[in-house]
């Protein structure tokens, strides 16, 4: 497993840069991850999405479906791509420290 230094701590990530241990996540890590995804600043809107994803994940053990994400955050998918250019799965979920979305690729 490769390791990355994120926000000063060494964290295991996979090849795609997803952190391997969700417990290691914190806001600073999020910021560091954001940079790897071309998000230079985490605005309130970014945090709204990130926090939503995290809470959803902690509650249900899964990432929400995109439709739900949009409905619940009030952002259109376009807006989400504007916030996270690599998209909700590769971008937002990674920054929120969720396990790598599997499945349908």
């Amino acid at each position: 497993m490769p390791k990355m230094v994120l926000a000063g701590i060494e964290i295991e990530v996979d090849e795609d840069g997803f952190i391997q241990d969700p417990d290691k996540w914190n806001e600073a890590v999020a910021k560091a991850l954001a940079e790897t995804e071309g998000v230079t600043e985490l605005t309130e809107d970014h945090w709204k999405v990130i926090n939503y994803l995290r809470e959803y994940y902690l509650k249900f053990g899964i990432a929400p479906m995109i439709r739900k994400l949009c409905k619940d955050t009030g952002f259109t998918l376009k807006q989400i791509y504007d916030l996270f250019p690599s998209g909700p799965a590769k971008g937002a979920c990674k920054i929120a420290g969720l396990p790598k979305p599997t499945g349908c690729v």
Binding site: D14, F18, Q20, D21, P22, F60, G61, I62, A63, P99, K100, T102, G103
Partner: protein, 352 residues
């Protein structure tokens, strides 16, 4: 920022002039010989097609070679078929034989039309996928080598479509092919609990199992597999890298027959299990090649003219199919999934 969302090139830019002129106004066609079609337009114009077998996995240099031929004979246009063959479209009849001569000189086959075997639709296998139970390209090459003459000569009772998929995801159309070669796992996934706890969505993994063989294991923050209920589909592996499914000792191949897609004569049909297991035996998978060849030959010997594999079997009955091919019938052949019941024989009508 690059352009996005502009879509594929418009097909109109890609059509040879003769086609553009007669677009939607074709009158009829003939197969001049295997691999060579003639389409005649209402206008009287003609277009000739030379169909060339392809490895599908092509290097850029080979594509450039194709382009050279297309430039020379086809005004710079070429197409590929839905089964990955190359089609050279000629407006000049005189060019047919010279083109074929050059193609053959390169060692490429011409054929695949009408009652020929066409190219095999297949998948990635060990070349580029993460769940395969077998390779794809290697078996395809071995099978096509053996059945080569069926591609070049129109000597079968009807079309023959062979396909291969390297796992139960069945990328391609193996579920509806005259003969399908399908990679199968045969042992349950090995759960890496530590890894699973970290990198997987447990509800998703649980829901991924078609037979309900996966139960959450909250203590380990992981899942357990009820082995008797697992039929090794590998779908849980797709959902989690912690459900290792590949097993070199037991992975292998199954053979399916009688599917079709066209609505001609009979409705589309699924391929059905013929041989539950053959070993992986690279590089040439002799058992698989032998089995496929045998199936083709038994069909070719017994079917009526124009009868696809599945149509022949449905006419003579599956009892007779197993008898004629000598393939043993086992409990594996009897469906036990959701829609099993309609496959059970609910009549005393059957052959001995």
């Amino acid at each position: 920022m690059p352009r996005t969302d502009f879509g594929p090139p418009h097909y109109g830019e890609m059509l040879p002039p003769v086609i553009k002129r007669n677009y939607g106004k074709w009158a009829y066609h003939e197969i001049l010989k295997p691999g060579v079609l003639k389409h005649v337009a209402e206008s009287g114009e003609e277009v000739y097609t030379v169909r060339v077998g392809s490895a599908r996995l092509l290097s850029t240099d080979t594509i450039r070679e194709i382009c050279e031929l297309a430039d020379k004979y086809c005004d710079g246009y070429v197409r590929f078929t839905s089964r990955h063959n190359i089609e050279f479209l000629l407006s000049n009849k005189e060019n047919i034989e010279p083109l074929i001569a050059e193609v053959k000189a390169k060692g490429w086959p011409v054929g695949g039309t009408g009652t020929c075997l066409s190219n095999m639709v297949h998948t990635q296998g060990w070349i580029h996928c993460h769940t395969p139970a077998t390779d794809a390209s290697g078996i395809v090459k071995a099978v096509m080598d053996e059945l080569y003459s069926y591609f070049e000569e129109a000597k079968l009772p009807a079309k023959l479509r062979i396909a291969l998929a390297c796992c139960l995801n069945m990328c391609g159309a193996v579920h509806c092919s005259d003969i399908a070669i399908l990679g199968i796992h045969r042992t349950p996934p090995r759960v890496n609990h530590e890894m699973l706890a970290k990198v997987s969505e447990i509800p998703t993994v649980v829901a991924s199992c078609p037979t309900g063989a996966i139960r959450p294991n909250p203590k380990l923050k992981s899942v357990d597999v009820i082995e008797e209920r697992c039929m090794y589909c590998g779908n849980c592996y797709t959902m989690s890298p912690a459900m290792e499914i590949m097993d070199p000792e037991n992975d292998g191949i199954s053979i399916w027959v009688g599917g079709k897609v066209s609505n001609a004569r009979s409705a589309p049909m699924f391929s059905r299990l013929a041989i539950p297991y053959l070993p992986n035996n690279p590089p040439r998978w002799p058992e698989v090649v032998e089995a496929v060849k045998h199936l083709v030959e038994v069909w070719a010997t017994h079917a009526r003219k124009g009868e696809r594999m599945g149509e022949w079997i449905e006419r003579i009955g599956w009892e007779s199919f197993f008898k004629l091919t000598g393939i043993p019938f086992t409990d594996k052949h009897i469906d036990d999934f959701i829609f099993s019941v309609p496959t059970f024989r609910t009549t005393v009508q059957f052959r001995w």
